[in-house]
Amino acid sequence: MPYAPEHDEVANPLRHGLRVEIPPEPCAVVVFGASGDLAHRKLLPALYNLAVGAHLPGAFGVVGVSKSEYSDTQYQTDMREAVGKFSRTKPIDDEVWRDFAAGLRYVSGSFEDDATFERLQGTLAELDRVRATRGNRLFYFATPPSTYPTLLRKLQKHRFIEPPLEQRFTRVVIEKPFGRDLPSARALNRLVLEVLDERQVFRIDHYLGKETVQNVMVFRFGNTVFEPIWNRNYVDHVQITAGEELGVESRGRYYEEAGLLRDMIQNHVLQLVCLTAMEAPVAFDADAVRDEKIKVLRALAPIEGPEAVAQRVVLGQYTAGQIGGNDVPGYQQEKDVAKGSRTPTFAAIKLNIDSWRWGGVPFYVRSGKRLPKRLTEIAVQFRKLPHALFGEGAAAPNTLILRVQPEEGITLRFSAKVPGERYRPRTVSMDFRYGTAFAAASPEAYERLLLDAMRGDQTLFTRKDEVEAAWKLVDGILRTTEAPDGSAPFSYEAGTWGPREVDELLARDGRVWRRP
């Protein structure tokens, strides 16, 4: 919830022009699902690293809530171990940890049980007293989506929710997946907004917390040379790839429910499309940025019905293969995956953005598990030369590649003359690598997002209408692919770039996929 000044309120004269980042207001962070993987691997290490960087307010506390039985001391010990293992800064700074752990509490109990929330009230009141957290609360739902309605109702029933713009703040961070289709996302939004104001809701997509994803905006709107050519006049097409070497590992049960379209396309990949295609916002604030992103989502041509899906979507599922010289099992051999499962682990989609800027410029997106490498990139392929001065095909079209992970950076591919020979062009690369240009370690995505949520800055969180617009596109595809008579996904061998059919998706347009 960005702070909205009263009409007659005097601006803070001491805040003007400060170059230093001011820590958020005092607050307590309540993590539901505190004994789970996300809390251990990401949330607590992120909060600890914020403490190391002196980004947290001095008056700060964390309360973990989950079913597992822990005392405060046991939880502190367990979390110290988790932080020691998963923190990006090592070793643990004892002094920082002592201060951080002094504000770390644990409440065990079922989310269904009122007594759990009564104990939570008591613990938060104690934190307000001894850590001066002043009644400000950030609730983090690090739990399965099925628990969200219960948690919201209980928070409401036990009067944890303060109206926005009151003296104290209440904010709720909700993890993906936000719904499993458009109707369920709408229903969840309705429920959320019965209990909370939109300014209190922080729907998290951790991709947006990545420095390199944020850099897409800086690259586009912080330079004058690229924006004039960032349109249908110069761009032939865009390819977005988000691949993983890993399979579903221990998440078979979740994945069987979700599949690739829900797990990656509806959120991460469409966010990358938005950042690549959006117009410049009028200001760099939460609503201005999200207003522009949603225009892109609304401009996406729907993909509905078997014919459109067959023309523009290829789904796949990995079979056994080899990655990095090791044998890996097929999807249907993974734990908790049904034999004969039709869950896609790969998707490639041709997106059309019906807008003045992007009319006729396809955005090809692909994402999958068990691909040859872990890689996320946006490749903007510029048009061919209007005249082949050096021979047909001698000079390849320019490509600009924004690498989100790994080897974060930007590469521009262009033609240069091969030395010694008469005007023979060859494509060369001009590289910018984050790791070398800025030697400072980038914060983890969760660090940035937790800090923003504590500050009330929603710029990197998705808004209600944004979530629904993204579901609208994916829902259209799901209705066809998950219909009883829908086709099974194509098979692809683990360690390849998807099923053979994926090449045809571009071949029909006279194009080929990049081999990153």
Binding site: E9, V10, N12, E21, P57, V96, T436, A439
Partner: protein, 368 residues
Amino acid sequence: MTVSLGEPIAGGQGARGWDELSVRFDEVVDLSRIRALLQEAKERGGSTAETVSTINLVAIYFSSAAYDRARAALEAAGRLHPCRLVVLIAESGAPAESVTARISVVRSGGAVSLERIVLTATGAGVRHLESALIGLLLPELPVVVVWGGRAEGALLQRAVGAADRVIIDSGTRPTEALAQVATMLVRGAPIGDLAWARIFPWMALAAEVLDIPNLREHRANLKSARVICAGAVGAEGALLGGWFASRVRKARVEVVAGGDAETGSYVPGEGDGTAITGYPAPAPLGRGHIAGFEFSAPPATFLLRRQKGILTAEVRGDDDGKVVHRVRLPLETPGRLLGLELKLVSGQDELYVAAVQRAVALLPRTAA
């Protein structure tokens, strides 16, 4: 000309895993020789690595000892902001005329992220430094000068004229030196100041307490402020007072000495330049450092105090009773302050300019 190749020069620094190449010029400085050694340093350990530079960082000292104290911080800041670091050490008091160049590189992520050239000139050799520097700067990149001497003199004026930014540390100089800084700022000198970066946490906490919802009502009624420096009035206290005065123009502001320092370091007037030392903890409270900051908006009084590594804000006289707020001071790792200042590589920090002007106006009445 004497050249020693392949021999690390400890130079009293101990092993750092860097191989330094060196060359000594007794008469004419040969820049092509320095460039050749730089290339050789880059080629060590295999093929030539890609070089990444975002700035030219030039550090100027007037004794090797001053550079030795700043070295860890310069290296750390140089790693944070990949650069060509050219260190000029002018020891004009030494009898013999010579210029020695020490050259080394640091790799990061497979690329060379820090090229370091240290030119030490003795005696009349000092006259060669300025022109040698110009030939060693990378083209197109901003030039940031870290000035390790008194904030005065012709050489500083020339550095200011040639650089995109000049970073000084007024915390190591007598507070009166702020007047010279103020004069240069008025002329548009793009000066940055580590003393300014050092007071960021105080400024942030003061701003933060006025953002607390039930304390916002006091913003319109700020009347006075008092900065308390440990042992003696220092430049940091003056800058904090100047900042407040520039932001709340009608307020009465004073800077006073009070209490004891935790260490005797940073004695105003006794420093010899940019002493960017590092601590694995919040820096100790030195003489002249800020121990407290109070400002009032009747009936409320805001009391900011430093207690070891924590800044605490206490608010008294508010309707809601006593309010306490605190922030942890950042760990004083080498190069942290310089790294902060290097985030701005050109132009002036308008807030700093205004603060210095007001600080100078405060000092005659308040300096201890």
